[in-house]
């Protein structure tokens, strides 16, 4: 019997090694898998490369991981916010590397990795600072920039319901990066608010098919 459901958040992240590239779902705090991140902080992995849209909000979730100084590099689109003080302090102290990428390029680089694409030409960022050092090309009269896929060792995402085969549905705008990150990591760990029996998720409405998910864990430890 295939059962991807892990008994605890701690067990789900136990094997994340130092130096791993970890995608973390969420747009701000919507869809942020904060319980998995707390488990990762307790686990102790360091020198991580993190992929997220932002660079932490307030003091919880990704911000807490940054505060604990576990992150060597972050790949994101919008680090600077009114409540990104932990990132701001690390950045100004030169203690974190930032790879800034336009949000749609970030999403497509993740999607490309998951879909087996080796790179793609995008019009976003053409002729700007963020295209410097990248190959660009004019196709049918329009300028494009070559962007590379982003692969990850792990993806930590938050979904609403999941089953033991790893099928997932999300809740409202908490979906955001979850479905594409699930495709781009060697090991995708989904925290869910409810584990349901096989067949309970409407197959017409499954958002992430279980093939993209290796581990499912309840958001709150029993």
């Amino acid at each position: 019997m295939i059962d991807k459901v892990f008994e605890s958040l701690q067990a789900a992240v136990a094997d994340v090694p130092d130096g791993a590239t970890v995608m973390i779902g969420g747009f701000g705090n919507a869809g942020m898998p904060s319980e998995l991140i707390d488990a990762l902080i307790a686990q102790g992995a360091r020198d991580l490369t993190i992929v997220n849209n932002n660079a932490g909000n307030g003091d919880t979730g990704l911000a807490a991981l940054l505060k604990a100084k576990r992150v060597r590099k972050i790949i994101c689109s919008f680090p600077r916010q009114t409540d990104s003080w932990h990132f701001d302090a690390l950045y100004r102290a030169g203690e974190i590397e930032l790879e800034l990428t336009p949000q749609g390029n970030l999403a497509e680089r993740i999607r490309a990795a998951g879909a087996g694409i080796g790179g793609f030409f995008t019009p976003t960022g053409y002729g700007t600072l963020l295209a410097e050092g990248k190959e660009s090309r004019v196709i049918d009269g329009r300028g494009y920039v070559l962007e590379q896929p982003i692969h990850a060792d792990y993806a930590l995402i938050k979904a609403h319901r999941g089953d033991r085969w790893g099928n997932l549905v999300y809740r409202k705008t908490a979906r955001n990066f979850g479905p594409i990150m699930a495709t781009a990591a060697k090991c995708t760990i989904a925290q869910v608010s409810e584990v349901v029996a096989l067949g309970e998720l409407d197959p017409e409405a499954v958002v992430t098919p279980g093939i993209f998910v290796q581990r499912v864990v309840l958001q709150e430890n029993k």
Partner: protein, 215 residues
């Protein structure tokens, strides 16, 4: 005496030009105010980059849902018929040219439609771009909404942007507190001016040559 438009009046002016059935993304800040001025009887689809189409107004106090937010991370609602999707699809809507209009704020717009709105270029600034570059190149029409002048009185419409670019030649129309100006292959064409403002004075306040051709 010229009557500069207030921010609300600018938002109302932009709203006039958004037709029934349009798929629209309103940028963070000033453009967000356009939503308050869209006529209720007009069906317009508001897209938010974080994965919703058919965005509704802010919820009543106490009815906020932390899983239902807009690009500015404020709580919003979903209209009947609205839907959710992931980030890959959301930016395909932009990059793929499926949005009819996006409305963006700006630091500067150049005569050829270059847009600068993401970075002041200050050496100590932490850069953040978000969806600005995707929006700039994605929609069929890009409307910019900004004050005509900086706080120190310089024209924000310039011959060449001095701030780092967001997109090249991407702006279609500029709405300021003084005028409505189209970006055309023949240069900038002023279409409207506020009451009490003459074209000579508008030209004097604007960093590049304008034509006056009301619609």
């Amino acid at each position: 005496m010229m009557k500069r438009l207030t921010r609300d009046q600018m938002a109302a002016r932009v709203a006039q030009d958004i037709p029934e059935g349009a798929y629209v993304n309103l940028g963070i800040g000033l453009p967000t105010m356009v939503a308050n001025h869209l006529p209720r009887e007009r069906e317009i689809f508001l897209q938010s980059e974080n994965g919703l189409l058919g965005m509704g107004p802010a919820p009543a106090a106490g009815e906020e849902d932390e899983d239902l937010i807009n690009a500015g991370k404020q709580p919003v609602t979903l209209l009947k018929g609205g839907c959710y999707f992931h980030h890959g699809d959301s930016f395909a809507m932009m990059r793929g040219g499926h949005l009819d209009i996006c409305v963006l704020g700006a630091f500067q717009v150049a005569a050829n439609g270059d847009l600068a709105n993401w970075h002041t270029g200050a050496p100590d600034a932490i850069p953040a771009v978000g969806g600005a570059m995707d929006l700039a190149i994605g929609a069929k029409q890009v409307f910019v909404m900004m004050e005509h002048l900086t706080k120190s009185g310089e024209s924000k419409i310039v011959s060449q942007c001095t701030y780092p670019l967001t997109g090249v030649g991407c702006v279609s129309r500029i709405y300021t507190d003084l005028a409505v100006i189209d970006v055309t292959p023949e240069g900038l064409v002023a279409r409207e001016m506020v009451e009490g403002l003459g074209f000579d004075e508008l030209q004097k306040l604007t960093g590049v040559e304008l034509k006056w051709q009301p619609l």
